[in-house]
Amino acid sequence: MAAVLVRTEHITPTQTIMGADAYNKMFTLHGAMMVFLFIIPGIPAALGNFVLPLMVGAKDVAFPRLNLTSWYLWIIGAVFAVASLLVGGFDTGWTFYTPYSTTTPFKGVIPIATGAFILGFSSIFTGLNFIVTIHKLRAPGMGWFQMPLFLWALYATAIIQILATPVLGITLLLLIVERALGVGIFDPALGGDPILFQHFFWFYSHPAVYIMIVPAMGVISELISVFSRKHIFSYRFIAYSSIAIAVFGFLVWGHHMFTSGQSSLMNMIFSALTFSVAIPSAIKAFNWVATMYKGCISLKTPMLYALSFLFLFAIGGLTGLFLGSLTTNVHLHDTYFVVAHFHYVMFGGTVIAFLGGLHYWWPKMTGKMYSDRQGQIACFLIFIGFNLTFFTQFIMGTHGMPRRYFKYSEQFTTLHVLSTVGTYVLLVGFLLVAYYLIDSLVRGPKAPSNPWGGASLEWQTTSPPPVENFSQPPIVGDPYDYGDLVYDPEIRGYRKLIKTGAA
């Protein structure tokens, strides 16, 4: 909603519906809320907590009470975030750059910093749970390479969560102490160094953007393989590329600071390392396309989301090349080009994959089917609205429209209006999705246990699964082998072809 307000504000070059401070708070709110409250916990916690035990064939995650603590920490973090609003909001941008964040007149900085600190713990506990579950609670006979790729993605995400989030914790702790007690670590007047804060912040935040995108890739690997009725292409390379992204993600945080006074030696090192991260994503994209070769592609809603993911993530990934090379980065840094780039990757990537995953596991979660027709319309709406909104921002960015600008020069007016129209189309798309998903809860037909013909373990139990997940221990096989699954019209789902020919 904050995003829609921000866009409406941009219809006219000068003030439209709110003052400068309000606008600054609005885009900071949009940034901080989306990052800390939605996208980081999004796929790992919302989908992962449900699907991981099923896919692994376990009764529950390794530490169920820790999982519960993680959920309550998320609630407390959200309460702190809302508290920061009541106290007066904060307008530092989600990056909290000092010395502005320690001297901004708005009091909301400390509550949101504590909120994000607590959410960090929630994220650590989720990651911790996933690693232990994947290591210790795999079903008998499920080796590391019989696991669905979504679990590899969650494993890679968990590694990042464990190794990066504590640095966010210490950064926010230092920020709070700096602002409250004037410790002077980042305050130039007391001998501190503001660029050091940027190092601290981005050391966490770049791996954090991979926390956001890697699970999305995991979901897409599942969707494309199931809906092309074809074994995923080169399972090991996709699995290893997930881990590679997780590890390389730690080496590249400097590319956020090319123009902020980093020494040119480090600029060179970080620019080189940044390109190393682009490779695994490229491999994944090629493998997904290769999976569809000679498949039997059924365009159901989850598949539509997967295809639009591929389209949008290709743009998002390739525009990263512009920002990775030093020369063009100088021109494009902190402009709308960057805004468009990360929205393409985060929105076009994570949110679209989240919707795809949601639609894919919705029958399994709720035991109700949603209407596929409405799903396809909604996906189309979101796709068009998204492109309209953010492709125009690429053009604005290259023309030098700086980021986080309340007022802008007239030459960008038409593009801003186009972008705002796109936002409204997106809004309609999302409302439609919300509508028919809730509607399916109320009036949806009963979902079969395997509506899409998936071969991983979660489809072997009833939907919604019983408390102990599996009534009888699941049969572990190759998660992408769809050989003996046949569509059974009367239950509108797939079931194993009983070799003995019994119906």
């Binding site: 376990a58 009764k59 529950d60 390794a62 530490f63 169920p64 009470r65 820790l66 519960l68 603590t69 650590i124 990651g127 911790l128 749970n129 690693i131 232990v132 290591h135 210790k136 609670l137 464990i162 190794l163 990066a164 989030t165 504590p166 640095v167 914790g169 210490i170 950064t171 702790l173 230092l174 102490v177 700096e178 007690l181 004037g182 410790v183 002077g184 670590i185 305050d187 007047a189 007391l190 001998g191 501190g192 160094d193 050091l196 601290f200 102990e468």
Partner: protein, 293 residues
């Protein structure tokens, strides 16, 4: 506290301590250990951030650290190290007693560890109080009292606001309307590089041109940096010691109740791991802060 160490005690058919979703006791124990080591990894990274701040500021301003370490007494530091090492020893011994089922030994060891923890905190309190009196605090509260008289008017919490003095530009840029502004630049500390004269703050610049502390005497600039880093590190470590003590107290209560035996002692082991980590961090903190040469 560490929820993952308390397995739910639903009564499974053959062992009350086996949580419902684990196959066997070893699987549960290994999961607990793995989970704990992951949590320790996060702690190491948390302190890693502080060590990074320490090393960055020490690499770039060694003179501050060399000058300021004289305020830290090696004796108290060494004492603290021995206290923590001993507590680690008794903790490990306690874990051994739990494994062998010696409940009385376990209770004694845990009590000893608890005692050592409090001694450690006591020593820290003494050190902090002594620094507080000398005004050697962090950031803007840093106002060293050079005359070591006994008068305790040393700046209490609220030190004087950062002085206005800025060696290079002593200009008082009046925001008056007079177009001509007299800009006097005194010699100030001659450094090999000339000072870039910032444009006079123009019409009412926001900056209160305070460049940290006035440097009087041989004290290098920005000594409060050392104390900021010192208080941050030892403070956060102190918080972790307090959390550790709470856990040990909780384990002690359960040990007295007789929960732990050879078959099930995971909580003791995990809290032991946590305590050893706290000791580990102090082992690195001690030389870095106290033994600067």
């Amino acid at each position: 506290m560490e929820a993952e160490t308390t397995q739910s005690h639903t009564s499974s058919e053959h062992n009350p301590h086996l949580a419902h979703h684990f196959g066997s006791l070893t699987q549960q124990f290994d999961s607990g250990k793995l989970g704990m080591w992951l949590f320790l990894a996060t702690e190491i990274l948390l302190f890693g951030g502080l060590f990074c701040a320490y090393s960055v500021y020490r690499a770039n301003h060694p003179e501050i650290f060399i000058y300021a370490h004289q305020y830290l007494s090696k004796f108290w530091g060494a004492l603290n190290t021995c206290v923590l090492l001993f507590s680690s020893f008794t903790m490990a011994w306690g874990v051994r007693c739990a494994q062998l089922g010696r409940q009385r030994g376990l209770v004694v060891c845990l009590a000893l560890t608890l005692l050592c923890g409090f001694v450690f905190l006591g020593v820290k309190y003494v050190e902090y109080k002594e620094k507080w009196q000398h005004g050697l605090l962090w950031g803007k509260y840093y106002s060293p009292v050079h005359h070591h008289d006994d008068s305790h008017e040393a700046a209490s919490g609220e030190g004087p606001a950062p002085q206005e003095g800025h060696p290079a530009v002593a200009s008082a840029v009046a925001q008056s309307m007079t177009p001509t502004v007299v800009l006097t630049t005194d010699a100030g500390v001659v450094v090999e590089r000339s000072k870039i004269l910032p444009a006079p703050t123009g019409p009412g610049g926001l900056a209160s041109l305070s460049a940290g502390r006035e440097s009087h005497g041989d004290e290098p600039r920005n000594v409060q940096l050392f104390f900021s880093v010192y208080f941050l590190m030892t403070g956060l470590h102190g918080v972790h010691v307090i959390v550790g003590l709470a856990c040990i107290g909780w384990i002690l209560r359960r040990a007295v109740r007789g929960d732990f035996g050879p078959g099930y002692f995971t909580p003791v082991d995990l809290v032991g791991l946590y305590w050893h980590l706290v000791d580990l961090i102090w082992i690195y903190l001690f030389p870095l802060l106290y033994l600067i040469h």
